[in-house]
């Protein structure tokens, strides 16, 4: 009773102070239905690690799936331990009173297959050899991920997501959900994404991959068996990635040409603050990410192109979708610029789909999708309010007929 009153008051627009989902614990699901992959190989059984925030309601119609990007994982909100320095990667948007309000929604975030944070991936033992998969882990596509997430959805007793949301590579998974399982997704929230990578995008990914693969410690991907880590390669890949996530303006604002020691040293040590930042980002990434997973994720990005199977017509590719869409882009994002989001919106409009599009003025570049930019969050909040309202209406209608 008290719960439904709380829900009602939040729908009436009564504000309550946004807060954190608090301490969270990852869970694991063992899926033993084989997964047939786009590359032709099969994974007989696999483990998916995920986190959930909020409560699944009785009708199981308030579930929201969050899809993570290239280097993300299942830890989207809250903290694992009180002393954790940083919360989950999208904590700005997920939590009680936040745009994706966990007082109303049951939020699920999965570490994608092939990941390195607990889900079956290159670090897992290959049942055929008894050794880690390493480079033998099959190449995955966005569609493979969506199929595995669908298996988890059923395991959780959910037949339809109220929404699937994600930024960047996460946004591509959202599109794939809408195409592959139209009946299982009511709303699609596609943020800072693209319908496929440009040649420039693929070029950046290739440089990142070459940095890893040509590292002497890579050992053809079997570095774990050699007790090695391709640190330099992975670090370079991450440094390059970071440059593309930020805008020129954001870098200027954050670092300018500031020198660490106040004057030039005429050497190749770290001198400029931006160098220090990139090296820090690179080295800390090596400690938390697996090189083979990084290679897999960049390949999934490169291969994503739903229009390829529809005579290169995105509108035809998206035609099966029945979800309502929200598409968001950021002005300074040059990795997946507003022009790319516009392609998605245009394709949806062409077949009369329900779609809203917001182009958010932001200087932070691609990374903006993780930031609590007021206008961006205002749009997200308004959109998720409608999702909640529609859930309540649907529930009311069905009760009326009962």
């Amino acid at each position: 009773m008290s719960e439904s009153t709380a829900k009602k008051s939040s729908l009436d627009g009564t504000t309550h102070q946004p807060s954190s989902v608090g301490l969270v614990e990852p869970q694991a699901a063992h899926i033993d239905t084989p997964l047939l992959l786009d590359c032709g190989r099969r994974i007989e059984e696999y483990e998916l690690v995920y986190e959930t925030y909020g409560e699944l309601n009785e009708r199981a119609d308030n579930a929201v799936l969050i899809c993570h990007a290239l280097s993300g994982d299942h830890h989207a909100a809250g903290r694992h331990r009180p002393e954790d320095r940083k919360p989950g990667w999208w904590d700005t948007a997920i939590g009680p009173g936040k745009p994706i309000d966990t007082d109303r929604f049951f939020v699920v975030c999965v570490n994608n297959l092939g990941g390195c944070k607990g889900s079956t991936g290159p670090l897992s033992t290959n049942p055929e050899t008894g050794r880690p998969y390493g480079p033998d882990f099959p190449i995955l596509t966005v569609r493979d991920w969506v199929n595995s997430q669908h298996a988890l959805m059923r395991r959780l007793g959910i037949s339809r997501w109220a929404a699937v949301a994600g930024g960047s590579l996460g946004g591509m998974q959202v599109m794939q959900w809408a195409i592959s399982y139209p009946e299982a997704i009511a709303h699609a929230v596609v943020i800072a994404a693209a319908p496929k990578l440009s040649a420039q995008n693929i070029a950046f990914n290739e440089v990142a991959r070459q940095a890893i693969i040509t590292d002497p410690d890579f050992h053809d991907g079997r570095y774990a068996e050699h007790g090695a880590i391709p640190r330099r390669g992975l670090m370079l890949a991450r440094m390059l990635g970071h440059i593309t996530y930020l805008s020129d303006d954001a870098m200027r604002a954050k670092f300018g040409r500031e020198l660490r020691s106040g004057k030039v040293q005429y050497g190749f040590d770290v001198e400029f603050q931006v160098e220090s930042y990139l090296r820090y980002q690179g080295t800390s990434f090596v400690d938390r990410f697996d090189a083979n997973t990084y290679l897999l994720m960049t390949k999934a990005l490169d291969y994503f192109d739903p229009a390829a199977e529809a005579d290169d017509d995105l509108a035809t590719a998206l035609a099966p979708a029945t979800a309502r869409f929200l598409v968001v882009s950021f002005t300074s994002d040059w990795r997946f610029s507003p022009v790319r989001s516009k392609e998605i919106v245009r394709a949806l409009l062409a077949t009369g789909k329900s779609v809203s599009y917001a182009e958010v003025e932001a200087h932070q570049g691609h990374d903006a999708f993780l930031m609590p930019i007021p206008y961006y969050h205002q749009v997200l909040r308004g959109y998720f309010d409608n999702i909640a309202r529609r859930m309540t209406e649907d529930a009311g209608t069905e009760e009326g007929y009962a």
Partner: protein, 201 residues
Amino acid sequence: MNRPDWDIVTGWIGEGAGVLDLGCGDGALLRHLIAERSVRGVGMEVDDERVARGVAADLNIVQADLDDGIRDWFGRHSFDYVLVSQTIQAIRHPERLLGEMLDIASEGIVTFPNMGYWRNRWQLGVQGMMPTTKALPNPWYNTPNIHLCTLRDFESLCEGLGIEILDRAVVDQNRRSSPLLRALPHWFGEHAIYRIRKRVV
């Protein structure tokens, strides 16, 4: 919240039609048309605050600047009606927009403040100053309204562009019509409402 000019527009639009509202603001007219005519509506708006309000009102809103053109967004004949309500006077190239509108939809509905309204004529012709009225509240040096016109200007532009005028209505500042308005629309119409389409050759 009903406005008489909305009633005129609503009267022209068929049940269940596809409607694109250019410069839709917070989507109030679209909501009205959805309620009254069950239209399939899409709004286009550039202002953040208005887009956010439109999205929150559960409308389909596309954030874009009309000055960049609309042809990129929509295919030919993708709507039954395109509305431009109190917006055309703030567009950089109204003539281009009119052409694009009628590529996208079979009919266009345009409303704008009439520069030939008697108060405007009085202020300019007798007082010798750029008019400021309820319909045109901004001073000349700071106004979004950069392309003001009279009914005759608009009609001659339509003629030049090969656009046929199907209907015309004028309303006063309270957005109502009256016998005086109908008798002397060029002088007493504060706002004009047109229904247009491409002339069939």
